[in-house]
């Protein structure tokens, strides 16, 4: 994998200086079109051997191109806010918007490599990290991002010479690398694991480019040309409308849907409701104050038919809690800044820190519901969203976040009655709009979309709960009870895990 980058590539000064002006102009032109189009962001990942010219090359690119459109990001020590969120959160919040270019130093690859070289974990965990990186990049590319991955390489001999030279250079002595490259062994293990990482993550949509780093002219010109060609090709693609290549889901051969299996007559009388509501609210209040909650966070997703009672259920939930513990995020059409990012970006921004609780009133599932039904995104987009969403929720779950998802279902007649009632009551009339009536006409399309959504995204780590919501009381109690159960399950699992850990340590 690295053989071609150890053969002493070099370019003489004259050739370099002759080629640079045209390259610069072309890069500036491309960058300008990128900014005008605002169709996709560019992400440049910088990795490789210490001393192979990573920093120098980025510096040069900033000189060649318009640095006002480039964001260089370093990810080293995690801040305490980053530590309280899932690992990918720090990258999500630094993503460049469409039309801009982000250069990521110390990215996900550096982190997994350093961890493995330091022996913090074994190959299995490295492979998990590799798979995570693949999924992230695939998703970013599907959302339009153009990703360049550069590995700056040196042979061991070249590196030693380079480090020696750098050591004597006062301009570089201040830089501290997280790995001790002076140790001969570091190079070997780094290259060994680097090879594994590159092999597995070089993909058609985001290939690695290995650059021999010894000669500054060669490496600068090579990187510049790769960027230019990649940019030009992507700009061209963006100018031509894309042809969908995914077939939509087949419709079933009968009209049976999961939603038909619900017993819509389930109901609670007032006395039972009041008793059970208070019981469940007290239970939730206690669970949220449990000290084990500090190692978790809670995400509750509310989806459902219009007028199914999401707001009322959320209010009963909120009533059990200290307002300082939770936040409620209402999801409407994305803003301009949100549209300039992958669709999951605005949800990543709202993911609760450890110990906190976020309620999403509508959510990322809009992609496979309203966006699918109304044609706001392509079939390709919503078809791949199922997998992306499962991956997103798995990351939350891995970070200790409990994810609970509700579909509040009512039948068509109940919806009609509630719409009419809303139009009659003054302080409820803001809850009903033209859109609601329009959506009602698409009842069956939504019904299919909901069925597909549940089939494809109800998973062991974050199952859907279908809530029979013709009776509001029944729905509210079921919501609370489900959340409580989920928290208790998470605590129990954690306790079991901790106990096992203790036992394991004892037997040693």
């Amino acid at each position: 994998m690295f053989e071609s980058a150890e053969i002493g590539h070099a370019i003489d000064k004259e050739t370099f200086e002759a080629e640079v002006p045209a390259l610069r102009e072309a890069l500036l032109e491309a960058q300008f079109e990128l900014q005008q189009q605002k169709r996709f962001p560019v992400i440049v990942l910088i990795n490789g051997i210490e001393g192979a010219g990573k920093g120098e090359t980025v510096k040069l690119l900033n000189e060649w191109m318009d640095p006002r459109l480039i964001e260089v990001r370093t990810f080293d020590q995690q801040s305490d806010e980053e530590l309280a969120h899932p690992p990918a959160w720090r990258y999500w919040r630094m993503l460049p918007a469409k039309g801009r270019m982000g250069v990521f130093f110390g990215n996900w690859y550096s982190q997994m490599l350093q961890g493995r070289v330091h022996g913090l974990f074994k190959d299995a965990v490295l492979d998990q990290a590799i798979a995570g990186a693949e999924r992230l990049e695939k998703m970013l590319c599907d959302e339009g991002a153009l990703i360049f991955k550069f590995w700056f390489h040196l042979s061991k001999k070249q590196m030693k010479a380079r480090l020696k030279a750098l050591k004597d250079d006062p301009l570089h002595s201040w830089r501290i690398s997280p790995l001790d490259w002076q140790q001969s062994e570091t190079y070997d293990t780094f290259v060994h694991f680097g090879e594994r990482v590159l092999r597995r993550t070089s993909r058609d949509y985001a290939p690695w480019h290995v650059i021999e780093g010894a000669d500054p002219h060669y490496r600068s010109l090579t990187v510049g040309k790769i960027l230019l060609e990649g940019l030009q090709a992507a700009l061209k693609r963006a100018r031509t409308p894309s042809v969908p290549n995914t077939a939509p889901l087949p419709s079933g051969v009968d009209q049976m849907s999961l939603l038909d299996s619900l017993d819509m007559s389930l109901a609670l009388d007032k006395a039972d409701y009041e008793e059970q509501l208070i019981t469940e609210q007290a239970r939730l209040s206690g669970l949220m104050r449990d000290k084990r909650m500090r190692r978790h966070a809670l995400v509750a997703v509310f989806e459902g038919n219009d007028a199914a009672g999401k707001g009322g259920a959320i209010r009963r939930l909120a009533a059990a809690l200290d307002p300082r513990q939770y936040s409620i995020v209402p999801i409407a059409a994305p803003s301009e800044d949100e549209r300039a990012q992958p669709y999951l970006w605005r949800f990543w921004r709202q993911i609760p820190a450890r110990g906190k609780f976020t309620v999403f009133d509508r959510s990322w599932y809009g992609r496979v519901l309203v966006e699918r039904v109304e044609g706001f995104c392509s079939t390709d987009d919503w078809m791949r969203a199922y997998g992306e969403i499962n991956d997103f929720e798995e990351q939350l779950s891995d970070a200790g976040i409990i994810v609970v998802k509700f579909w509040l279902a009512i039948d068509k007649q109940t919806q009609l009655e509630r719409f009419q009632q809303r139009e009659d009551i003054p302080f409820k009339r803001f809850k009903i709009t033209e859109d609601d009536w329009r959506n009602r006409d698409k009842w069956d399309l939504y019904r299919t979309a909901v069925g597909d959504m549940v089939d494809r995204t109800s998973t062991e780590i974050s199952p859907w709960t279908l809530v029979e919501a013709n009776d509001k009381r029944w729905a509210r109690v079921k919501v609370l009870r489900t959340i409580n159960q989920a928290i208790e399950d998470a605590f129990a699992q954690r306790d079991k895990h901790d106990k096992k850990g203790k036992k394991d340590r004892k037997t040693k």
Copy 2:
């Protein structure tokens, strides 16, 4: 100040229950209009005596109103990211957008009171904090925000009874207050300093409301009604167009401007330029690596005539630096999310953390330049901006941030030549637009605006540097040299200060 809140206000259950439904409906209606109008945000500050029902009242408001439009924020321990920025940064990043309501617990008042009660500082520092709060609130209100300040009060006797009751309540025992209210003295000093704070910060645009907290019915109903009346009045104001009440600046009696005093013939020949440029770049590079830089940050603002060479000067600056240290923020028309906030919000977001450097390519001065000249904001808005900007920069400076501001000036003939040249060179043509030609027609208006800007915002803590930019070489070197000088001055001042501190400690 607190007398009326110690007389045993109470409301019986029947009256309370009779009044709540209408109040709730009216609050929901007002909240709905707030959200539809999207004309202003609502900020609710919650302060007062421990046990006076702060948390309970906010909880109730969340039940009465639509909690999806309310963001409750607690500010306790500062995160490490917050500690690396000026103190107000944490509040700016949590401001609710227009149409939404933010409830701030543990806000700026709690911080100053706790600090003073704990004896971390004396009255003079408390008074500085008070003045800072006043300026912040005045600016927020001028930008349209509606601020409610609630002080929940209890007499000492009431508080003791309440704390005793809370102690036995398992639902409350988990809450830890930063002040030890069990100590009798804490109450006295807290009320003493609280009185000072309220007295000085109760203003027409953001008055304090002192609420006796002993009786839940009384306090809830009172807070609800104050919110309702305030909201309704503000919504009404927002519906009627405002009448400007500020006279614009008088134009001078002659046509002399500060810009005329520049010697536009200043220039550097190529050899001098190259030598001086390299010298200044090396100097900057060294200064940015100086370990004293870790206690500072750097903000450089670039304003200037179109085609004055801002981009080129910024590139020469960037060339001296490691791309990981700086970021360049190009400022164009604000996005939708940015327009939903006070105009300084998007600049606060980009303020560098300690040790970092942010270059603003155009800046907050747009308010008194393009927004003034083009009429994008009212005379009231840009007239008050001078003071707001000075206050903003003082906060940066107080936090150790070095602020350097450049106006790159060219004459009208030079601009014409550069415009024509840009239209001819392919990779420069993206630098010239219709807008540029239009702005040129308003040359004199901009000239006046620049003069006023410099007169009103060139201060000792962050002076303007006017750069004679007809000769690009001269301009680039002057920019670099000015920045270097500013950093060295800041270091020298810090050294002097540290030395003095050491000496003071010795003499003790």
